[in-house]
Amino acid sequence: MKRSPIVVVGTMAGLFGVMSFHTTPAKITLGSVATPTSTGSSTSSATSTTASAPTTTSPPKKRTSPPASSRSTSSPTTSAGSASSSTTPATTAPVTTTTAAPATTTTASSNLAQTVTGPSVNYYFGLLSVKVTVAGKKITNVTIASLSDGGNYRSQQIDQASIPILEQEAMQAQNANIQSVSGASYTSAGFQLSLQDALKKVGIK
């Protein structure tokens, strides 16, 4: 554990300049439009909910897990629906980020240019989100809308994908009952996740 900081610095230095973002893919045109079947709303039933609201507002640090939730009822999955969702989430992000203002969707036939920002993808030391501009059904631009690590903006040239792994290894080493850790990390897949969500918001995905 005590060696971690050194390892992190070394890795970041090693990666510097090697990796780079594709901030501006030259030209992307939209292809097949996926049409997920919209099932009727499964109105929510009992959700397993923990009572305690998270209170941390600072950058990543150790925190005990939320209390054990009541086990979901024997019936299949509970819908994540409306029951408990109206509570305002405690802010946990180290920094304010832009999220898409327009949650509404436009019909696909519109030719007006619109810009939507995808959700911020948590990559452990901060947040990243993707901004996409579309005209009609055509994507005209894709950029990184925000990249932050708690107030200190890092160079976009630094790929920090390895930092979560070092963090995970640290967590793993701390807990004798755990052999590995699964968590979302910032990778190019995270970029795509944010992008697909942005596309969904403008109704073309």
Binding site: S38, A80, Q179
Partner: protein, 266 residues
């Protein structure tokens, strides 16, 4: 390349490999002891699989076959056969997730990156099955492929990161096969589903476990974007189980998700 003993145990080997723009870690176990020399040939093969996948599928390297295919410089038939194989698997995953996992969302460039990481880790794992070990874990940036356990009767346990406070853990699972986690952080937790016009609650973190890591990855991506509808879908999919963690710290999981709360596990 080297595999190092874990300080605390002569029965575990650990290796970290930088590949695919990230870090992939290997942990293998044998409670009657294992030497790095013994394991090295297997590790070399497993690592080579990952580097080969990176060479073929990287969208960051302009000369990779996938990049060439995306630019239309080569046809699918001219690409290495694994490209067609992966795209076929992606098409299956897209159908299974009812379009919520969709590498074809952007034309002019199919991007199977989200699937390839899991697929290649799963393939890499196959190189280790004949090694003198009782179990192996390959962790590709938080997505895990595994077989076996700590010994013949003790399954692996894997922590699930708390999206509200990473890298702290929310819970653990008893690992059977693979697990993938995708996450979105979004302030304000309502989003309108463009297909139904309804507000949906979004999870901060979506974990999917099952036999194949490529599919787990696809499901986790779909679940992170699609929400409760996808959770319902996974409930009715054989061999795959899922957990979502929400902004209010509530959680939902499918009926057979092997969750372990850490407070009670010590």
């Amino acid at each position: 390349m080297s595999a190092s003993h874990d300080d605390s145990s002569p029965t575990r080997l650990h290796h970290r490999e930088e590949v695919m723009g990230t870090v992939v870690t290997f942990d293998v176990y044998n409670n009657s002891g294992i030497s790095p020399e013994e394991f090295l040939p297997y590790l070399q093969e497993a690592v080579a699989v990952l580097h080969h996948a990176d060479k073929v599928f990287s969208t960051w390297k302009s000369n990779s076959p996938l990049s060439q295919l995306r630019r239309g410089e080569i046809t699918l038939g001219e690409a290495p056969p694994e490209v067609a194989q992966v795209l076929e698997m992606c098409a299956l995953a897209k159908a299974q997730t009812k379009g919520w996992f969709d590498p074809w969302a952007l034309a002019g460039g199919v991007d199977p990156t989200g699937y390839v990481k899991g697929w290649s880790a799963q393939l890499s794992l196959a190189s280790l099955v004949d090694a003198p070990i009782t179990g192996a874990i390959i962790n590709a940036a938080g997505d895990i492929a595994s077989f076996g356990g700590l010994d013949a009767t003790t399954p692996f346990r894997v922590g699930i990161t708390d999206p509200l406070s990473p890298p702290a853990l929310n819970c653990a699972i008893e690992l059977r096969g693979a697990v993938a986690t995708s996450g979105i952080y979004e302030r304000g937790d309502h989003l309108v589903n463009p297909f139904t016009g309804e507000a949906t609650t979004r999870a901060l973190s979506a974990s999917v476990t099952g036999p194949d890591l490529g599919l787990c990855d696809a499901w986790a991506t779909a679940l992170a974007v699609g929400g409760s509808e996808i959770l319902e879908l996974i409930e009715h999919t054989d061999d795959y189980e899922a957990l979502t963690i929400n902004a209010d710290a509530s959680r939902q999981w499918t009926s057979r998700f092997p969750i372990i709360d850490l407070e009670t596990s010590h």
